[in-house]
């Protein structure tokens, strides 16, 4: 399983390194979304700083949808998904590999969006470890659920529109917990116990990683 996951993650990251879709399209999209939020909120810097945690995670969710769609689409060309199935590769390894590749891309995107939030919204980080922990745990959950629901929608002709519809409600706990942790970590934010929300993220990650390992194979066959 681990050998297969490393193989698949390496393949997906190599494809991303060649195509640069995450860096040249998804990251700029996320930054544009942050700018649009800033326009919508108006020139009040304190309002933007207060909204920064939620807006950061909404932008991350949008980027997740795009990254997952890209991860699904590379397997849709020239029967690549059938090729993977025919290879007899371990489905759990395939799930972990694809999720790991999405997670690596999301971490890069979160760094870009985090910089955007601090520069555009004037957010000041007081507890960097909380920010790092929430991003790490949130990324695992988003990558796992995204990969799982990406496989679920892969065989459908309407996958581009169905995936966000399926995925966004499912990852609401990540949005909620991530936002609360960021509020606790940013100066002037709403006082909150960040570690409590980190625990929710750990549970969410454990549930969806375990679910993916178990059901990815049957989903892949049925899609």
């Amino acid at each position: 399983m681990w050998r297969d996951s490393v193989l698949v993650a390496g393949k997906d990251l190599r494809i991303e390194a060649r195509s640069k879709v995450a860096l040249s399209q998804v990251a700029p999209f996320g930054v544009v979304a942050l700018v649009m939020f800033a326009f919508a909120l108006g020139p009040d810097r304190s309002l933007m700083a207060r909204g920064a945690p939620g807006l950061f995670w909404v932008a991350v969710l949008f980027c997740t949808v795009l990254a997952v769609q890209r991860s699904v689409s590379v397997e849709s060309v020239d029967g690549a998904r059938d090729g993977l199935r025919l290879s007899g590769i371990d489905p759990a390894g395939l799930f972990l590999g694809k999720a790991a590749a999405v997670a690596v891309q999301l971490v890069v995107l979160e760094v870009v969006l985090g910089l955007g939030v601090t520069l555009l919204y004037g957010a000041r980080i007081e507890a960097p470890w909380l920010i790092a922990a929430s991003c790490l745990l949130g990324t695992v959950g988003l990558a796992a659920t995204g990969t799982l629901y990406g496989a679920l929608s892969a065989g459908l002709r309407v996958k581009e529109t169905l995936l966000p519809f399926l995925l966004l409600p499912i990852v609401a706990p990540v949005l909620l917990a991530g936002t609360r942790v960021w509020q606790a970590a940013l100066a002037g934010g709403v006082p909150a116990d960040g570690t409590q929300w980190l625990r929710l993220l750990v549970v969410f990650d454990a549930v969806y990683v375990a679910l993916g390992v178990v059901v990815f194979g049957p989903i892949q066959e049925a899609a």
Partner: protein, 253 residues
């Protein structure tokens, strides 16, 4: 002293019915292929040739009937069967952003095969030098087909399922493919070729099976085969996975 048990068939289908929604892909196929045999499946477009191969690869489950591939149920023992089976289909299963060499290496490693054959396989299919470093997106249809063949040759599975293998290949590549099939058969590999170009494959096969309307409608020895193979009536139910089949295959001089 009891005679040795006959070998388990490489492919065994009994009254196999496969559906796509409510549309029948296979409508009761009975077929038995002996280990090491090279069988040509012929038939018009839409006859069920591709579906037959996809059932054997475990990509399409049966709605009813029974199937054994290399003695195993290809759906229940999906991973074990697929690592021993190679399917050359209409698609080449290539990633456009990877080079030819990267595609071959990934496919061979994903199948858990020994990567030692990769260099030989690529040389045999002419995928060396600059071509091996070319992105798959820049390849012609025939070149993509050659890459898929190189993956098959590098993996060298026990059962080759070839769906219209000559399609898109030039004369040189067709000749290479024919030689690959001959070598595979000589090494004991079972080859099932679906093609409506019988004249291209007929000389390589030992038996020709005609599929029409999702059923096997005729079987005959291939023209020019040294021995002809007749499938005698098999069992009414399948043996457990891995057990020798009760039906047998007789070689007729």
């Amino acid at each position: 002293m009891a005679p040795p048990a006959p070998p388990s068939p490489a492919v065994l289908l009994r009254d196999a019915v496969a559906l796509s929604g409510r549309f029948p892909l296979l409508a009761g196929v009975d077929l038995q292929v002996a280990p090491g045999e090279t069988v040509l499946i012929e038939g018009p477009n839409g006859a069920g040739k591709t579906s037959l191969l996809r059932v054997c690869a475990g990509l399409v489950p049966l709605a009813s009937g029974q199937v054994r591939v290399l003695g195993l149920d290809p759906v229940r023992h999906r991973g074990r069967v697929r690592r021993r089976v190679g399917l050359l289909s209409h698609a080449s299963h290539l990633y456009d952003d990877l080079t030819v060499g990267e595609n071959v290496r990934f496919a061979v490693r994903a199948a858990g095969a020994d990567p030692a054959r990769i260099v030989d396989a690529c040389e045999r299919l002419g995928l060396t030098g600059r071509l091996s470093k070319t992105a798959a997106s820049k390849l012609s249809a025939g070149q993509r087909r050659r890459v898929a063949l190189a993956v098959l040759a590098a993996r060298w599975p026990e059962l080759w399922l070839l769906d219209e293998p000559h399609a898109g290949l030039d004369a040189s590549a067709r000749s290479t493919l024919d030689q690959l099939i001959v070598d595979a058969a000589a090494s004991g590999v079972t080859v099932v070729v679906a093609s409506h170009e019988a004249e291209l494959v007929g000389s390589l096969a030992t038996r020709v099976v005609t599929v029409t309307g999702g059923r096997v409608t005729a079987e005959r020895p291939a023209a020019g085969s040294a021995g002809t193979t007749a499938v005698l009536p098999g069992p009414t139910s399948l043996p457990p996975a891995g057990a020798p089949a009760q039906g047998h295959v007789a070689h007729v001089a």
